[in-house]
Protein backbone atom coordinates (compact mmCIF):
# COMPACT_ATOMS: atom_id res chain seq x y z
CA UNK A 1 0.00 0.00 0.00
CA UNK A 2 1.45 3.39 -0.92
CA UNK A 3 1.76 6.09 1.69
CA UNK A 4 -0.72 8.97 1.56
CA UNK A 5 0.34 12.15 3.34
CA UNK A 6 -2.57 13.92 5.05
CA UNK A 7 -2.31 17.44 6.41
CA UNK A 8 -4.16 17.81 9.72
CA UNK A 9 -4.88 21.53 9.98
CA UNK A 10 -4.71 21.92 13.78
CA UNK A 11 -6.08 25.16 15.15
CA UNK A 12 -3.57 27.48 16.81
CA UNK A 13 -4.88 26.16 20.13
CA UNK A 14 -4.09 22.57 18.94
CA UNK A 15 -7.66 21.40 18.36
CA UNK A 16 -8.12 18.66 15.76
CA UNK A 17 -10.27 20.17 12.99
CA UNK A 18 -13.58 18.84 11.69
CA UNK A 19 -11.90 18.18 8.32
CA UNK A 20 -9.55 15.51 9.75
CA UNK A 21 -11.85 12.43 9.74
CA UNK A 22 -12.85 12.88 6.06
CA UNK A 23 -9.25 13.38 4.94
CA UNK A 24 -8.05 10.34 6.89
CA UNK A 25 -10.94 8.21 5.60
CA UNK A 26 -10.11 9.09 2.00
CA UNK A 27 -6.40 8.44 2.65
CA UNK A 28 -7.22 5.02 4.14
CA UNK A 29 -9.06 4.13 0.93
CA UNK A 30 -6.06 5.19 -1.20
CA UNK A 31 -3.24 3.75 0.92
CA UNK A 32 -1.62 4.12 4.35
CA UNK A 33 -2.53 7.43 6.03
CA UNK A 34 0.49 9.42 7.28
CA UNK A 35 -0.88 12.37 9.28
CA UNK A 36 1.27 15.51 9.30
CA UNK A 37 0.69 18.10 11.99
CA UNK A 38 2.27 21.43 12.89
CA UNK A 39 1.90 22.83 16.39
CA UNK A 40 3.67 25.17 18.76
CA UNK A 41 4.56 22.46 21.28
CA UNK A 42 4.92 18.71 20.68
CA UNK A 43 1.66 16.80 20.23
CA UNK A 44 0.52 15.07 23.40
CA UNK A 45 -0.77 11.50 23.83
CA UNK A 46 -4.39 12.61 23.71
CA UNK A 47 -3.97 14.14 20.23
CA UNK A 48 -2.08 11.09 19.06
CA UNK A 49 -4.78 8.72 20.30
CA UNK A 50 -7.50 10.90 18.73
CA UNK A 51 -5.76 10.94 15.33
CA UNK A 52 -5.22 7.17 15.57
CA UNK A 53 -8.92 6.69 16.30
CA UNK A 54 -9.66 8.66 13.14
CA UNK A 55 -7.42 6.43 11.05
CA UNK A 56 -3.85 7.79 11.13
CA UNK A 57 -1.39 4.88 10.81
CA UNK A 58 1.62 7.10 11.37
CA UNK A 59 1.94 10.64 12.69
CA UNK A 60 4.62 13.03 11.48
CA UNK A 61 4.26 15.51 14.33
CA UNK A 62 6.26 18.68 13.83
CA UNK A 63 6.48 21.62 16.17
CA UNK A 64 8.04 25.04 16.40
CA UNK A 65 7.50 27.85 18.86
CA UNK A 66 7.33 30.09 15.77
CA UNK A 67 4.71 27.97 13.94
CA UNK A 68 2.02 30.67 14.12
CA UNK A 69 4.21 33.72 13.62
CA UNK A 70 4.21 33.56 9.82
CA UNK A 71 1.58 32.63 7.25
CA UNK A 72 1.84 28.94 6.39
CA UNK A 73 5.61 28.82 5.82
CA UNK A 74 6.30 26.29 8.59
CA UNK A 75 3.51 24.07 7.33
CA UNK A 76 4.89 24.00 3.79
CA UNK A 77 8.31 23.05 5.24
CA UNK A 78 6.77 20.28 7.38
CA UNK A 79 4.90 18.79 4.43
CA UNK A 80 7.94 19.04 2.18
CA UNK A 81 9.99 17.11 4.76
CA UNK A 82 7.24 14.53 5.30
CA UNK A 83 7.06 13.98 1.54
CA UNK A 84 10.77 13.37 1.27
CA UNK A 85 10.73 11.05 4.30
CA UNK A 86 7.66 9.00 3.31
CA UNK A 87 7.54 9.20 -0.52
CA UNK A 88 3.74 9.28 -0.74
CA UNK A 89 1.61 8.48 -3.80
CA UNK A 90 -0.53 11.54 -3.02
CA UNK A 91 -0.92 14.40 -0.55
CA UNK A 92 -4.34 15.32 0.87
CA UNK A 93 -4.94 18.85 2.17
CA UNK A 94 -8.23 20.46 3.24
CA UNK A 95 -9.58 22.94 0.65
CA UNK A 96 -9.62 25.59 3.37
CA UNK A 97 -8.35 29.16 3.07
CA UNK A 98 -4.92 28.16 4.36
CA UNK A 99 -4.98 24.68 2.84
CA UNK A 100 -5.16 26.03 -0.71
CA UNK A 101 -2.24 28.36 -0.15
CA UNK A 102 -0.24 25.51 1.36
CA UNK A 103 -1.11 23.22 -1.57
CA UNK A 104 -0.12 25.85 -4.13
CA UNK A 105 3.25 26.58 -2.53
CA UNK A 106 3.95 22.88 -1.91
CA UNK A 107 3.22 21.99 -5.55
CA UNK A 108 5.73 24.55 -6.80
CA UNK A 109 8.32 23.50 -4.26
CA UNK A 110 8.05 19.74 -4.91
CA UNK A 111 7.24 19.85 -8.62
CA UNK A 112 3.83 18.31 -7.91
CA UNK A 113 0.49 19.02 -9.53
CA UNK A 114 -2.60 20.33 -7.73
CA UNK A 115 -6.02 18.73 -8.07
CA UNK A 116 -8.16 21.41 -6.46
CA UNK A 117 -11.51 21.26 -4.65
CA UNK A 118 -11.83 17.51 -4.98
CA UNK A 119 -14.94 15.68 -3.69
CA UNK A 120 -13.59 12.13 -3.96
CA UNK A 121 -10.64 10.09 -5.28
CA UNK A 122 -9.88 6.53 -6.37
CA UNK A 123 -6.73 4.46 -6.75
CA UNK A 124 -6.24 2.07 -9.68
CA UNK A 125 -2.92 0.22 -10.03
CA UNK A 126 -1.18 2.84 -7.95
CA UNK A 127 -2.52 5.78 -9.99
CA UNK A 128 -4.76 8.27 -8.20
CA UNK A 129 -7.77 9.79 -9.96
CA UNK A 130 -9.53 12.75 -8.37
CA UNK A 131 -13.21 13.58 -8.80
CA UNK A 132 -14.34 17.20 -9.08
CA UNK A 133 -17.82 18.63 -9.03
CA UNK A 134 -17.81 21.48 -11.55
CA UNK A 135 -20.17 24.39 -12.27
CA UNK A 136 -22.49 23.86 -9.36
CA UNK A 137 -22.58 20.09 -9.70
CA UNK A 138 -23.65 20.06 -13.35
CA UNK A 139 -20.52 18.13 -14.27
CA UNK A 140 -18.44 15.47 -12.61
CA UNK A 141 -14.87 15.57 -13.89
CA UNK A 142 -12.17 12.96 -13.27
CA UNK A 143 -8.56 14.15 -13.42
CA UNK A 144 -5.09 12.95 -12.52
CA UNK A 145 -1.46 14.05 -12.39
CA UNK A 146 0.21 11.26 -14.34
CA UNK A 147 3.86 12.39 -14.21
CA UNK A 148 4.16 14.09 -10.84
CA UNK A 149 3.07 14.02 -7.20
CA UNK A 150 -0.71 14.64 -6.97
CA UNK A 151 -1.58 17.21 -4.30
CA UNK A 152 -5.33 17.16 -3.65
CA UNK A 153 -7.34 19.80 -1.84
CA UNK A 154 -10.47 18.12 -0.47
CA UNK A 155 -13.76 19.99 -0.17
CA UNK A 156 -14.93 20.02 3.46
CA UNK A 157 -17.86 17.72 4.15
CA UNK A 158 -17.43 15.79 0.88
CA UNK A 159 -16.30 12.52 2.47
CA UNK A 160 -18.68 11.12 5.04
CA UNK A 161 -16.79 7.96 6.01
CA UNK A 162 -14.77 6.88 9.01
CA UNK A 163 -11.43 5.10 8.55
CA UNK A 164 -10.57 2.03 10.61
CA UNK A 165 -8.81 3.04 13.84
CA UNK A 166 -5.05 2.56 14.29
CA UNK A 167 -2.58 2.55 17.11
CA UNK A 168 -0.29 4.99 15.31
CA UNK A 169 3.49 5.16 15.29
CA UNK A 170 4.78 8.70 15.87
CA UNK A 171 7.78 10.75 14.77
CA UNK A 172 8.28 14.02 16.66
CA UNK A 173 10.35 16.67 14.90
CA UNK A 174 11.25 20.18 15.79
CA UNK A 175 11.16 22.46 12.76
CA UNK A 176 14.12 24.74 12.13
CA UNK A 177 13.84 28.31 10.90
CA UNK A 178 11.49 28.29 7.93
CA UNK A 179 13.14 27.99 4.55
CA UNK A 180 10.80 30.30 2.61
CA UNK A 181 12.78 33.51 2.31
CA UNK A 182 10.14 36.21 2.52
CA UNK A 183 6.80 35.60 4.19
CA UNK A 184 3.85 37.46 5.64
CA UNK A 185 3.58 37.78 9.41
CA UNK A 186 0.66 36.99 11.69
CA UNK A 187 0.39 39.85 14.17
CA UNK A 188 -2.81 38.77 15.92
CA UNK A 189 -5.34 35.95 15.76
CA UNK A 190 -8.89 35.90 17.05
CA UNK A 191 -11.19 32.91 16.95
CA UNK A 192 -14.46 32.93 15.09
CA UNK A 193 -17.29 33.02 17.61
CA UNK A 194 -19.14 30.08 16.16
CA UNK A 195 -22.08 28.38 17.77
CA UNK A 196 -20.96 24.90 18.78
CA UNK A 197 -24.53 23.68 19.35
CA UNK A 198 -25.29 23.88 15.65
CA UNK A 199 -23.79 21.53 13.04
CA UNK A 200 -21.16 22.91 10.69
CA UNK A 201 -22.55 24.12 7.39
CA UNK A 202 -20.14 22.00 5.33
CA UNK A 203 -21.21 18.40 5.57
CA UNK A 204 -24.46 19.07 7.51
CA UNK A 205 -27.38 16.73 6.75
CA UNK A 206 -29.88 19.60 6.96
CA UNK A 207 -29.28 23.21 5.94
CA UNK A 208 -31.74 26.08 6.43
CA UNK A 209 -30.77 29.22 4.51
CA UNK A 210 -32.19 32.70 4.50
CA UNK A 211 -32.02 35.45 1.88
CA UNK A 212 -32.77 39.09 1.42
CA UNK A 213 -36.45 38.26 1.95
CA UNK A 214 -35.77 38.10 5.70
CA UNK A 215 -35.39 41.87 5.61
CA UNK A 216 -33.18 42.44 8.66
CA UNK A 217 -30.66 40.85 11.01
CA UNK A 218 -33.35 40.69 13.74
CA UNK A 219 -35.71 38.82 11.43
CA UNK A 220 -32.93 36.46 10.35
CA UNK A 221 -33.28 34.79 13.77
CA UNK A 222 -36.29 33.03 12.25
CA UNK A 223 -33.88 31.12 9.96
CA UNK A 224 -31.81 30.08 12.97
CA UNK A 225 -34.91 28.99 14.89
CA UNK A 226 -36.05 26.73 12.06
CA UNK A 227 -32.53 25.36 11.70
CA UNK A 228 -32.50 24.51 15.40
CA UNK A 229 -35.95 22.92 15.23
CA UNK A 230 -34.68 20.68 12.39
CA UNK A 231 -31.25 20.12 13.95
CA UNK A 232 -29.67 21.76 10.90
CA UNK A 233 -26.97 24.23 9.99
CA UNK A 234 -27.61 27.86 9.01
CA UNK A 235 -26.81 29.16 5.53
CA UNK A 236 -27.49 32.37 3.63
CA UNK A 237 -27.56 33.97 0.20
CA UNK A 238 -24.93 36.53 -0.74
CA UNK A 239 -27.54 39.29 -0.58
CA UNK A 240 -28.27 38.37 3.06
CA UNK A 241 -24.53 38.37 3.84
CA UNK A 242 -24.00 41.70 2.04
CA UNK A 243 -26.90 43.21 3.98
CA UNK A 244 -25.19 42.15 7.21
CA UNK A 245 -27.92 39.73 8.39
CA UNK A 246 -25.30 37.06 9.05
CA UNK A 247 -21.59 36.36 8.84
CA UNK A 248 -19.91 35.74 5.48
CA UNK A 249 -18.96 32.19 6.50
CA UNK A 250 -22.65 31.22 6.11
CA UNK A 251 -22.75 32.14 2.40
CA UNK A 252 -23.89 29.28 0.16
CA UNK A 253 -23.20 29.43 -3.56
CA UNK A 254 -20.76 30.05 -6.36
CA UNK A 255 -18.38 32.08 -4.22
CA UNK A 256 -19.47 30.67 -0.87
CA UNK A 257 -19.78 27.18 0.53
CA UNK A 258 -21.03 24.27 -1.63
CA UNK A 259 -23.37 21.98 0.26
CA UNK A 260 -25.03 18.66 -0.66
CA UNK A 261 -27.30 17.97 2.32
CA UNK A 262 -30.22 15.54 2.56
CA UNK A 263 -32.50 18.55 3.08
CA UNK A 264 -32.04 22.18 2.00
CA UNK A 265 -34.63 24.75 3.02
CA UNK A 266 -34.44 28.14 1.23
CA UNK A 267 -36.32 30.98 2.94
CA UNK A 268 -36.81 34.29 1.13
CA UNK A 269 -34.16 33.39 -1.48
CA UNK A 270 -34.89 34.06 -5.16
CA UNK A 271 -32.63 31.26 -6.40
CA UNK A 272 -30.18 33.17 -8.59
CA UNK A 273 -27.97 30.83 -10.61
CA UNK A 274 -24.98 31.70 -8.40
CA UNK A 275 -26.89 30.62 -5.30
CA UNK A 276 -28.08 27.42 -6.96
CA UNK A 277 -24.49 26.58 -7.86
CA UNK A 278 -23.85 25.92 -4.17
CA UNK A 279 -26.92 23.88 -3.24
CA UNK A 280 -28.60 22.25 -6.22
CA UNK A 281 -27.03 18.87 -5.50
CA UNK A 282 -29.05 18.65 -2.25
CA UNK A 283 -31.16 15.50 -2.07
CA UNK A 284 -34.38 17.37 -1.25
CA UNK A 285 -35.04 21.10 -1.62
CA UNK A 286 -37.88 23.03 0.03
CA UNK A 287 -38.38 26.71 -0.77
CA UNK A 288 -40.65 29.36 0.69
CA UNK A 289 -40.94 32.58 -1.31
CA UNK A 290 -43.66 35.22 -1.78
CA UNK A 291 -43.02 35.44 -5.50
CA UNK A 292 -44.49 32.51 -7.43
CA UNK A 293 -42.08 33.22 -10.32
CA UNK A 294 -38.94 32.97 -8.16
CA UNK A 295 -36.43 30.71 -9.96
CA UNK A 296 -35.83 28.71 -6.77
CA UNK A 297 -39.18 26.97 -7.47
CA UNK A 298 -37.71 25.49 -10.67
CA UNK A 299 -35.50 23.22 -8.59
CA UNK A 300 -37.57 22.80 -5.41
CA UNK A 301 -39.12 19.42 -4.59
CA UNK A 302 -41.66 21.29 -2.48
CA UNK A 303 -42.28 24.96 -3.21
CA UNK A 304 -44.48 27.11 -1.00
CA UNK A 305 -45.67 30.42 -2.36
CA UNK A 306 -46.10 32.30 0.88
CA UNK A 307 -44.73 34.72 3.43
CA UNK A 308 -41.86 33.36 5.52
CA UNK A 309 -43.05 35.39 8.50
CA UNK A 310 -46.35 33.58 8.51
CA UNK A 311 -45.36 30.05 7.38
CA UNK A 312 -42.10 29.53 9.27
CA UNK A 313 -43.38 30.28 12.81
CA UNK A 314 -46.22 27.80 12.23
CA UNK A 315 -43.77 25.14 11.02
CA UNK A 316 -41.66 25.66 14.15
CA UNK A 317 -44.76 25.27 16.36
CA UNK A 318 -45.79 22.06 14.59
CA UNK A 319 -42.28 20.63 14.90
CA UNK A 320 -42.24 21.45 18.62
CA UNK A 321 -45.65 19.84 19.08
CA UNK A 322 -44.34 16.65 17.43
CA UNK A 323 -41.29 16.43 19.63
Amino acid sequence: MPNIVVFIELTHTTQIPATAPGLLALAARLGTPIAVSVSQSPLNDEHIAALGAQGAAHIYATHSAQAYSTLNSYTVDALEQAISAHQPAAVLIPASVDGREIAGRLAVRTGGGVLADVIDAHAHDGAITAIHSVFGGHYTVAASVPEALPILTLRAGAIDEIAPAHNPTVEHLELGAHTAGRTAHIDAQSDAPYNTNRPELRGAATVVSGGRGLGSAQNFVLVEQLADALGGAVGASRAAVDAGYIDHTAQVGQTGVSVSPQLYVALGISGAIQHRAGMQTAKTIIAINKDEDAPIFEIADLGIVGDVFSVVPQVIELLKARA
Partner: protein, 254 residues
Protein backbone atom coordinates in the same frame (compact mmCIF):
# COMPACT_ATOMS: atom_id res chain seq x y z
CA UNK B 1 4.35 52.58 -6.53
CA UNK B 2 3.73 50.05 -9.27
CA UNK B 3 0.81 47.66 -8.80
CA UNK B 4 0.11 44.73 -11.12
CA UNK B 5 -3.44 43.34 -10.99
CA UNK B 6 -4.09 39.81 -12.23
CA UNK B 7 -7.33 39.88 -14.15
CA UNK B 8 -8.99 36.72 -15.38
CA UNK B 9 -11.63 36.50 -18.04
CA UNK B 10 -14.27 33.85 -17.29
CA UNK B 11 -17.64 32.70 -18.64
CA UNK B 12 -20.42 34.81 -17.12
CA UNK B 13 -21.79 33.04 -14.04
CA UNK B 14 -25.21 34.55 -14.72
CA UNK B 15 -25.94 31.91 -17.34
CA UNK B 16 -25.59 28.15 -17.57
CA UNK B 17 -21.93 27.27 -18.18
CA UNK B 18 -20.99 24.39 -20.46
CA UNK B 19 -18.06 21.97 -20.37
CA UNK B 20 -17.09 20.18 -23.53
CA UNK B 21 -17.46 16.52 -22.57
CA UNK B 22 -14.76 15.33 -24.97
CA UNK B 23 -12.00 17.72 -23.87
CA UNK B 24 -13.10 18.73 -20.38
CA UNK B 25 -12.54 22.36 -21.37
CA UNK B 26 -14.93 25.24 -20.87
CA UNK B 27 -17.04 25.95 -23.94
CA UNK B 28 -16.13 29.59 -24.35
CA UNK B 29 -18.74 30.23 -27.02
CA UNK B 30 -21.61 29.26 -24.75
CA UNK B 31 -21.40 32.31 -22.48
CA UNK B 32 -20.43 35.94 -22.60
CA UNK B 33 -16.84 36.27 -21.51
CA UNK B 34 -16.58 38.76 -18.64
CA UNK B 35 -13.93 39.88 -16.18
CA UNK B 36 -14.31 37.68 -13.14
CA UNK B 37 -16.04 39.81 -10.52
CA UNK B 38 -13.35 39.07 -7.94
CA UNK B 39 -10.59 40.29 -10.27
CA UNK B 40 -12.62 43.48 -10.78
CA UNK B 41 -12.60 43.96 -7.02
CA UNK B 42 -8.82 43.40 -7.07
CA UNK B 43 -8.54 46.10 -9.73
CA UNK B 44 -10.73 48.43 -7.67
CA UNK B 45 -8.37 47.99 -4.71
CA UNK B 46 -5.46 49.11 -6.93
CA UNK B 47 -7.39 52.01 -8.46
CA UNK B 48 -8.32 53.31 -5.03
CA UNK B 49 -4.58 53.59 -4.25
CA UNK B 50 -4.17 55.54 -7.48
CA UNK B 51 -7.10 57.81 -6.50
CA UNK B 52 -5.15 58.84 -3.41
CA UNK B 53 -1.73 59.02 -5.05
CA UNK B 54 -1.68 59.88 -8.75
CA UNK B 55 1.92 58.68 -9.14
CA UNK B 56 0.69 55.09 -8.69
CA UNK B 57 1.04 52.96 -11.81
CA UNK B 58 -1.56 50.23 -12.32
CA UNK B 59 -0.83 47.45 -14.81
CA UNK B 60 -3.30 44.66 -15.60
CA UNK B 61 -1.98 41.25 -16.52
CA UNK B 62 -4.17 38.59 -18.07
CA UNK B 63 -3.48 35.22 -19.61
CA UNK B 64 -6.26 34.10 -21.91
CA UNK B 65 -7.52 33.66 -25.46
CA UNK B 66 -7.67 36.54 -27.95
CA UNK B 67 -10.92 37.98 -26.60
CA UNK B 68 -9.28 38.44 -23.17
CA UNK B 69 -8.04 41.65 -24.80
CA UNK B 70 -11.58 42.96 -24.20
CA UNK B 71 -11.19 42.33 -20.49
CA UNK B 72 -7.91 44.25 -20.57
CA UNK B 73 -9.53 47.16 -22.48
CA UNK B 74 -12.31 47.31 -19.93
CA UNK B 75 -9.77 47.41 -17.09
CA UNK B 76 -7.96 50.24 -18.89
CA UNK B 77 -11.23 52.13 -19.29
CA UNK B 78 -11.81 51.79 -15.55
CA UNK B 79 -8.47 53.50 -14.93
CA UNK B 80 -5.54 51.07 -15.26
CA UNK B 81 -2.52 52.53 -17.10
CA UNK B 82 -1.40 49.64 -19.28
CA UNK B 83 -1.98 45.99 -19.98
CA UNK B 84 -0.07 42.79 -20.61
CA UNK B 85 -1.88 40.05 -22.49
CA UNK B 86 -0.38 36.58 -22.56
CA UNK B 87 -1.80 34.95 -25.62
CA UNK B 88 -0.67 31.57 -26.86
CA UNK B 89 -2.77 28.79 -28.40
CA UNK B 90 -0.58 26.30 -26.57
CA UNK B 91 -1.98 27.61 -23.28
CA UNK B 92 -5.52 26.53 -24.10
CA UNK B 93 -6.80 24.55 -21.11
CA UNK B 94 -3.72 25.37 -19.02
CA UNK B 95 -3.88 23.99 -15.47
CA UNK B 96 -3.03 25.97 -12.34
CA UNK B 97 0.62 24.89 -12.43
CA UNK B 98 1.16 26.14 -15.96
CA UNK B 99 -0.94 29.29 -15.43
CA UNK B 100 1.12 30.21 -12.38
CA UNK B 101 4.39 29.52 -14.21
CA UNK B 102 3.39 31.82 -17.03
CA UNK B 103 2.04 34.60 -14.81
CA UNK B 104 5.11 34.40 -12.57
CA UNK B 105 7.40 34.65 -15.59
CA UNK B 106 5.55 37.77 -16.77
CA UNK B 107 5.72 39.28 -13.28
CA UNK B 108 9.45 38.64 -13.08
CA UNK B 109 9.95 41.30 -15.77
CA UNK B 110 7.28 43.66 -14.43
CA UNK B 111 9.12 44.91 -11.36
CA UNK B 112 5.96 45.38 -9.28
CA UNK B 113 5.88 46.62 -5.69
CA UNK B 114 2.55 44.92 -5.18
CA UNK B 115 0.59 42.21 -7.02
CA UNK B 116 -3.17 42.03 -6.38
CA UNK B 117 -5.28 39.00 -7.33
CA UNK B 118 -8.70 37.53 -6.58
CA UNK B 119 -8.84 34.79 -3.94
CA UNK B 120 -10.41 32.26 -6.30
CA UNK B 121 -11.78 32.30 -9.82
CA UNK B 122 -15.41 31.41 -10.50
CA UNK B 123 -14.59 28.95 -13.28
CA UNK B 124 -11.81 26.99 -11.64
CA UNK B 125 -12.52 27.65 -7.95
CA UNK B 126 -9.00 26.40 -7.29
CA UNK B 127 -7.69 29.37 -5.37
CA UNK B 128 -4.12 28.11 -5.73
CA UNK B 129 -2.64 30.34 -8.43
CA UNK B 130 -1.70 33.27 -6.13
CA UNK B 131 0.20 30.97 -3.74
CA UNK B 132 1.99 29.27 -6.62
CA UNK B 133 3.09 32.64 -7.98
CA UNK B 134 4.26 33.69 -4.50
CA UNK B 135 6.39 30.56 -4.25
CA UNK B 136 7.88 31.04 -7.74
CA UNK B 137 8.82 34.65 -7.02
CA UNK B 138 9.73 34.21 -3.34
CA UNK B 139 7.14 36.82 -2.39
CA UNK B 140 5.16 37.02 0.83
CA UNK B 141 1.47 36.22 0.18
CA UNK B 142 -1.31 37.77 2.22
CA UNK B 143 -4.20 35.70 0.91
CA UNK B 144 -7.97 36.02 1.35
CA UNK B 145 -7.89 39.52 2.79
CA UNK B 146 -11.04 41.29 3.91
CA UNK B 147 -9.29 44.66 4.40
CA UNK B 148 -5.91 46.11 3.49
CA UNK B 149 -3.74 49.13 4.29
CA UNK B 150 -1.20 49.78 1.57
CA UNK B 151 1.87 51.74 2.67
CA UNK B 152 4.90 52.68 0.62
CA UNK B 153 7.18 50.00 2.08
CA UNK B 154 4.81 47.57 3.77
CA UNK B 155 1.20 46.43 3.85
CA UNK B 156 -1.10 45.15 6.55
CA UNK B 157 -4.62 43.85 6.62
CA UNK B 158 -7.13 41.42 8.01
CA UNK B 159 -7.75 38.01 6.64
CA UNK B 160 -10.31 35.35 7.33
CA UNK B 161 -9.33 31.75 7.55
CA UNK B 162 -11.40 28.78 8.67
CA UNK B 163 -10.45 29.39 12.26
CA UNK B 164 -11.17 33.08 12.68
CA UNK B 165 -9.65 36.43 11.85
CA UNK B 166 -5.97 37.29 11.57
CA UNK B 167 -4.13 40.60 11.48
CA UNK B 168 -1.30 40.12 9.00
CA UNK B 169 1.49 42.24 7.55
CA UNK B 170 4.33 41.99 5.05
CA UNK B 171 7.09 44.06 3.56
CA UNK B 172 6.85 45.03 -0.10
CA UNK B 173 7.20 43.65 -2.69
CA UNK B 174 4.36 41.27 -1.91
CA UNK B 175 1.29 39.60 -3.38
CA UNK B 176 -2.20 39.84 -1.89
CA UNK B 177 -5.50 38.20 -2.79
CA UNK B 178 -8.82 39.88 -2.07
CA UNK B 179 -12.21 38.40 -1.14
CA UNK B 180 -15.78 39.58 -1.69
CA UNK B 181 -15.36 41.69 1.45
CA UNK B 182 -13.63 44.21 -0.85
CA UNK B 183 -15.57 46.96 -2.59
CA UNK B 184 -17.30 46.36 -5.90
CA UNK B 185 -15.55 47.85 -8.90
CA UNK B 186 -16.38 51.25 -10.39
CA UNK B 187 -17.96 51.55 -13.83
CA UNK B 188 -15.91 52.92 -16.70
CA UNK B 189 -17.01 56.45 -17.64
CA UNK B 190 -17.02 57.99 -21.12
CA UNK B 191 -13.67 59.68 -20.67
CA UNK B 192 -12.18 56.43 -19.44
CA UNK B 193 -13.53 54.49 -22.41
CA UNK B 194 -12.12 57.02 -24.89
CA UNK B 195 -8.78 57.21 -23.08
CA UNK B 196 -8.42 53.42 -22.93
CA UNK B 197 -7.98 53.21 -26.70
CA UNK B 198 -4.64 55.02 -26.46
CA UNK B 199 -3.24 53.07 -23.52
CA UNK B 200 -0.52 50.50 -24.30
CA UNK B 201 -1.16 46.76 -24.25
CA UNK B 202 1.68 44.37 -24.92
CA UNK B 203 0.94 40.87 -26.15
CA UNK B 204 3.35 38.07 -25.32
CA UNK B 205 3.57 34.36 -26.13
CA UNK B 206 4.71 31.73 -23.62
CA UNK B 207 8.00 31.21 -25.45
CA UNK B 208 8.81 34.91 -25.16
CA UNK B 209 8.57 34.45 -21.41
CA UNK B 210 10.84 31.43 -21.53
CA UNK B 211 8.09 29.09 -20.34
CA UNK B 212 8.02 25.58 -21.69
CA UNK B 213 4.36 24.62 -22.09
CA UNK B 214 3.57 21.46 -20.14
CA UNK B 215 0.50 20.95 -17.98
CA UNK B 216 0.68 18.43 -15.12
CA UNK B 217 -2.98 17.58 -14.73
CA UNK B 218 -4.90 15.44 -17.16
CA UNK B 219 -8.69 15.22 -17.44
CA UNK B 220 -9.85 11.66 -18.02
CA UNK B 221 -13.64 11.91 -18.07
CA UNK B 222 -16.54 14.34 -17.87
CA UNK B 223 -20.04 13.30 -16.85
CA UNK B 224 -23.11 15.48 -17.02
CA UNK B 225 -25.71 15.43 -14.31
CA UNK B 226 -29.34 15.41 -15.35
CA UNK B 227 -30.87 18.82 -14.66
CA UNK B 228 -33.12 19.03 -11.63
CA UNK B 229 -36.82 19.31 -12.23
CA UNK B 230 -39.43 21.11 -10.18
CA UNK B 231 -41.58 19.13 -7.76
CA UNK B 232 -44.88 20.46 -6.56
CA UNK B 233 -45.62 24.07 -5.70
CA UNK B 234 -48.43 25.00 -3.33
CA UNK B 235 -49.88 28.36 -2.44
CA UNK B 236 -50.16 29.14 1.23
CA UNK B 237 -53.68 29.71 2.41
CA UNK B 238 -52.92 28.89 6.01
CA UNK B 239 -52.39 25.15 5.33
CA UNK B 240 -48.84 25.20 3.93
CA UNK B 241 -47.02 24.80 7.25
CA UNK B 242 -48.89 21.57 7.96
CA UNK B 243 -48.23 20.35 4.41
CA UNK B 244 -44.54 21.11 4.81
CA UNK B 245 -44.34 19.10 8.03
CA UNK B 246 -46.24 16.22 6.39
CA UNK B 247 -43.78 16.32 3.50
CA UNK B 248 -40.86 16.10 5.94
CA UNK B 249 -42.48 13.18 7.75
CA UNK B 250 -43.39 11.24 4.59
CA UNK B 251 -39.88 11.68 3.23
CA UNK B 252 -38.35 10.71 6.59
CA UNK B 253 -36.55 14.00 6.86
CA UNK B 254 -37.54 14.44 10.51
Amino acid sequence: MKIVVLVKQVPDTGEERILDASTGLVDRDANDPVIDEISERALEAALSVKDRDKSTEVVVLSMGPSDASKAIRKALSMGADSGIHILDDGLLGADATLTAQVLAAALRNADADLVITGNESTDGRGGVVPAMIAEHLNLPLMGSLTTVNIGSASISGQRRNDEGTQDVSADLPAIISVTEGFAEARFPNFKGIMGAKRKPVSTLAAAELGVNIAARTKISSVETRAPRSAGSTIIDEGQAAAQLVDFLTTNRLI
